[in-house]
Symmetry: C2
Subunit: 340 residues, 2 copies
C-alpha cells in the first residue's frame, strides 16, 4: 500500500497549527469578530441565540471570516469595517449549515448533536433565515453596495449548489464535472466572496480583487474535496472522527466517482445498490472503503485537491511578502494535508 503513504502518516505536518498561526497573525480582529457574532445573534426571541449559539460554538475554526480579516490586512486595510463583514460571512455560513443539516436530516455535527436534533428541523430552518437576514443587516450597516453584490450573489449560487447536490445525491452516474460544479457552488463561492471582500474593503484595484477571488475559489474547491476524502479515511476513524456520513446519505463525492469509473461490473452494481437504491447492509461501508483504496481513489482525489491548491497559491503571487500572505500560503497546505 505504498501508494497511499500520505494516508498512513497522520500529522506529517502540524496542520491545526497553521490555522492557529493565521488567526494569531491576524490578531485582535479575530476576538473582535467572535464578540460581534455573539452580540449580533441576539434577539428578543430567546430560542434564536440559544440555537445559533449552539451551532456557532460547536462550529469550527472560523476559517471563512478569518479569510476576510486576513485578505483585508494583506491588502493594507487598517480600519474596523472588515470585522462586521467577516461576521456577516460567518452568519451566511452558519445559516447554510443549519439548512444543510435539515436537508441531510443529520443527527450529528462535529461529533455533537446537531441543532436540528436538539431544537427540531422547524427551528433550524427559521433560525437559519434569521442569521441570513442578520448577515444582510450587518452588510447594510457597513454600507458598501459592492460587498452586498458579492455576498448576495454568492448566497444565490450556494443555494443553487445545494439544490444541485440534492439532485446528484443517490445518483452513482454523477460525473466528476457535475461533482465539481456542486463543490464550486456550495462551498467555494463563499470562500471566494470572503476573500474578495478583503480587497473591496481595502479599496484595492480590480486585479487584486480578482486574484483574491481566484485564491478563495480554488482554496474552497480543495477544501471541499479533502472534506469529502476524510469521510472515507480509515485514519480519521482511528482518530475517533465521524466517517461514512456521505456514504450513508448516498452522496456521490470524488473518491466514489473515481472508484466507480475504475471499477468493474460487480463493483458498479455494489455502488448502485448502496447509493442509488439506499440499500445498505452491515459491512457495506468497509467494503466501500476497500474499493476506494484498491483503486487509489483517495490518493488521486488528493492529487486533484493539490491541483486547486496550486492555483490558489499562485493567485497570491502578485502580493508582496507579508506575514499574512505567508500564513495564507500555509493555510493552503493545511487544507490539503489535513490528517488523513
Amino acid at each position: 500500500m505504498a501508494t497511499i503513504i500520505p494516508l498512513e502518516q497522520p500529522q506529517r505536518r502540524n496542520h491545526t497549527a497553521a490555522l492557529d498561526n493565521l488567526a494569531a497573525v491576524v490578531g485582535d480582529d479575530v476576538a473582535a469578530v467572535n464578540q460581534l457574532i455573539v452580540q449580533r445573534m441576539e434577539s428578543r426571541v430567546a430560542m434564536i441565540p440559544r440555537l445559533a449559539g449552539h451551532i456557532i460554538a460547536a462550529g469550527g475554526k472560523r476559517l471563512r471570516p478569518i479569510l476576510t480579516l486576513a485578505t483585508a490586512q494583506m491588502c493594507g486595510y487598517r480600519g474596523e469595517r472588515h470585522r462586521k463583514l467577516a461576521a456577516s460571512v460567518e452568519f451566511i455560513h452558519t445559516a447554510t449549515l443549519l439548512h444543510d443539516d435539515v436537508v441531510d436530516d443529520s443527527a450529528l455535527r462535529r461529533g455533537g448533536p446537531s441543532a436540528n436534533a436538539l431544537f427540531g428541523n422547524e427551528a433550524s430552518v427559521l433560525v437559519g433565515d434569521f442569521l441570513f437576514s442578520r448577515a444582510f443587516e450587518l452588510m447594510v450597516e457597513d454600507g458598501s453596495i459592492d460587498v452586498l453584490r458579492v455576498l448576495s450573489h454568492a448566497s444565490a449560487i450556494i443555494a443553487e449548489g445545494e439544490v444541485l447536490q440534492l439532485i446528484t445525491t443517490n445518483d452513482s452516474a454523477t460525473s466528476e464535472q457535475a461533482y465539481l460544479e456542486v463543490v464550486r457552488a456550495k462551498t467555494a463561492e463563499l470562500f471566494a466572496a470572503a476573500c474578495r471582500v478583503g480587497a473591496i474593503v481595502a479599496a484595492r484595484p480590480a486585479s487584486e480583487e480578482e486574484a483574491l477571488r481566484t485564491f478563495g475559489l480554488n482554496l474552497g474547491i480543495a477544501f471541499q474535496i479533502v472534506d469529502d476524502i476524510l469521510d472515507y479515511s480509515a485514519e480519521q476513524a482511528r482518530l475517533g472522527k465521524t466517517v461514512g456520513d456521505d456514504f450513508r446519505e448516498g452522496k456521490v463525492t470524488l473518491p466514489v466517482i473515481l472508484a466507480i469509473h475504475r471499477g468493474n461490473e460487480a463493483e458498479r452494481a455494489f455502488w448502485k445498490r448502496t447509493l442509488d437504491d439506499s440499500d445498505q447492509r452491515d459491512g457495506d461501508f468497509a467494503h466501500a472503503q476497500d474499493l476506494i483504496r484498491s483503486h487509489n481513489a483517495l490518493r488521486d482525489a488528493i492529487d486533484r485537491a493539490r491541483h486547486y491548491g496550486a492555483i490558489a497559491r499562485d493567485a497570491l503571487g502578485m502580493f508582496p511578502d507579508h506575514p499574512v500572505k505567508r500564513a495564507l500560503l500555509d493555510i493552503v497546505d493545511f487544507t490539503i494535508e489535513r490528517e488523513f
Copy 2:
C-alpha cells in the same frame, strides 16, 4: 345568531374586485413585475424555476408587490425602479411561504398540493434560500442602501416572528399580546416594508415614509387577523375553501384566544387536549367552531381587525386625493370584509 351577520352574508361587497381594481389602477407595472418574477427565478438548475414557479403560480394575488407599486405611484414616482423592488418583495414573501410550509409540514397550499408535498422539504428549504438571495440581488441591482436596510431588517423580524409562532404553537395559554407580536412580526412587517419602499423610491420625506409604514403595518395586522378568522369560518367551508388547518396544527390564533378567555373549565380542558396535547378526534374541529361561535369570538376578532384597518385608513390622510389612494383605501375594506 344575529350577532354574526357579516359571517352569514358572503360577498356583501365584491371584494376580489377591490384588488383587481387596485391592480388595474396601478396598470402596466403589474404585468411588468410578473414578467420580472418569471425572469429572475431562472437558474441553470432546472428544479429551481420549476419549484418556484409552482408556488408563485399557485400563489395569490401579489398583494405585497402591488402595495410597493401603488405606494410609489401615489408618491408621484414615474420611473421603473419600483418594479424590481416589488419583485424583490414578492421573492421574500415566496421564500417565507416555502419555509412556512416546511415548518408546518403542510400538504396543501391554496387548495393545491404544496411545494414541499410535490418536491420534498429539502428542495423547498433550498429554493426558499435561493429566492431570498435573489431578492437581495435585485435590491443590489437597484442600489439603494435605504431599501436594503428596510427589507433586510424586515426579513430578520419575519424570521423572529416565525420562531415566536413556533413557540406559541400548542400553547393554549398564549396571550392576545403574544399573538399580536407574532402577527406583527411574521406578516405585518413585510406589508410595512413593501409600502415604505414606495416612498423611498419616490424620494419622499420621512413623514410620508412613516405614514406608509403605519398604513402597511396596520393593514398587515388586519390581514392576518382576518386570515386566522377565515380558518374557522363555516362560510369558507361552504365555498369549498380549506378550513381547520390552524386547529389541526395547534396554532393559537385570535378566535381561539378569545374563546378560551371566555370559556369555562370544561372548554379550557377541550382546548388543552386538542391544541396543547395535539389529541384531536372526529368532531373536534366542529366543536371548536361551535365554541368560537358561542362566544362571538369571530365577530369580535373582526372588530379587532377593523380597529387596525381604521388606523391604516387614517395613515393615508396626509396624501392628496389620487386614484391609487382611493384604491388603497378600498383594499383596507377588502382585506377586512373578505368572504366569511
